[in-house]
Symmetry: C2
Subunit: 231 residues, 2 copies
């Protein structure tokens, strides 16, 4: 076993490292976050306040904060862009993904969606995020090929796929937004989801979890917004 | 001019890169975020959805997302830890700081504080974050010396100082929490704030802005909680 990921049994934030590890052909398992959180989360070496936590089994070291886990894994397994400025643009893209996770769950369910706020989010904010990805990918992505950096897959492609692939699967209506605002990035996501390791991982996960995304009342709230918009 | 930082005229998230650039002796200026946000934020190369944006004047390149800006600057100006795993622990610490900025402003003022929620935050959550910093610094910090990594200053020390130094200055009552939960980290923050470049920067900023922190209704909300707790 190379790594254990302590997380809840939903795609949401956990799928970022899981998709990366699947691409890299690593041996990993998901351990329920309750084994470490909240009780012993401060007593491990390099503590953290919230899941996901990655345990490097060989070194017996923990690391939490999803974007840090992604950069650590990418650095170890040859999935960072080649040049230094691009490395930090890749990190920026992961942080953008992480912000979208916050926003779509109203900061982890701090509030539920109202029709008005959902409409504003979908019309202005979500489309702005998607257009931003498309602009950053502009020179290097087309409908049939390309990656964000260096003509090869990196942590940036994997992160955007973990975000948009899961949203597309769990809430198919959002695919329309992606088609409109980021057609080339959407096609990247579809290509990455077909890569062998990731395809196998997603097939198994989607069979087990169905359409579940982040669970809880906030997932119900997103679903009720989508069904009342009737598309 | 080496860099321009597009941000609002408050410490909050902008002080992270400003403190780093002061330490590194760089030439920089703060430009009001309204020059770029929201109107032209999608039309620059490497667009971003929200401030701060850093402009590298020599390369004419933009980068947003505070933790990415910090890592980019640290990588350029010799402020990253030496060894790769530590680099990602430093990133984790910056992300922790960024999460605390979200939490103390109730996600940028999405809700205002109530006495009940403020009490819970201060008693459980804020103290947990502080204890976590103290644990991570445990082996390398003491009351009079030390840094998080390699016995020298890095982006980790600068980020924790940007967070706690500003909170301490703007809301002195919170110093009590730091004394209780992270005495060695508090002493690090005090040492870092006395370094020549940072001292000059803070002196000028604090003269200009007074006790202002993040501005707006949410700053008023924090202040009303602190005054009603009468300490």
């Amino acid at each position: 076993m190379d790594y254990q990921l302590f997380y809840w049994n939903v795609p949401f934030r956990g799928n970022f490292p899981l998709i990366l590890m699947s691409e890299a052909g690593l041996k990993f398992e998901v351990v329920d976050a309750s084994k470490i959180y909240p009780d012993s989360s401060l007593s491990i070496i390099c503590p953290g306040v919230a899941p996901p936590y990655l345990l490097d089994c060989k070194e017996n070291k923990y690391l939490n904060q999803m974007p840090a886990i992604m950069m650590h894994l990418a650095s170890r397994h040859n999935l960072l862009p080649k040049n230094s400025p691009d490395v930090w643009v890749a990190l920026k893209l992961i942080l953008d993904c992480n912000d979208i996770l916050y926003e779509i769950t109203r900061y982890h369910g701090m509030e539920m969606w109202t029709s008005q706020k959902w409409k504003e989010f979908r019309t202005y904010r979500f489309s702005k995020w998607l257009k931003q990805f498309e602009t950053i990918g502009y020179e290097r992505l087309d409908k049939t090929s390309g990656f964000f950096f260096d003509g090869k897959i990196s942590v940036a492609d994997l992160s955007v796929t973990a975000l948009l692939g899961a949203l597309k699967w769990s809430f198919p209506a959002l695919t329309t937004d992606m088609k409109e605002s980021c057609p080339n990035v959407l096609s990247l996501v579809e290509r990455v989801e077909k890569r062998e390791g990731i395809k196998q991982f997603l097939k198994k996960q989607r069979k087990e979890l169905g359409k579940e995304y982040c669970s809880g009342q906030i997932e119900d709230s997103i679903r009720s917004m989508l069904s009342s918009q009737a598309h």
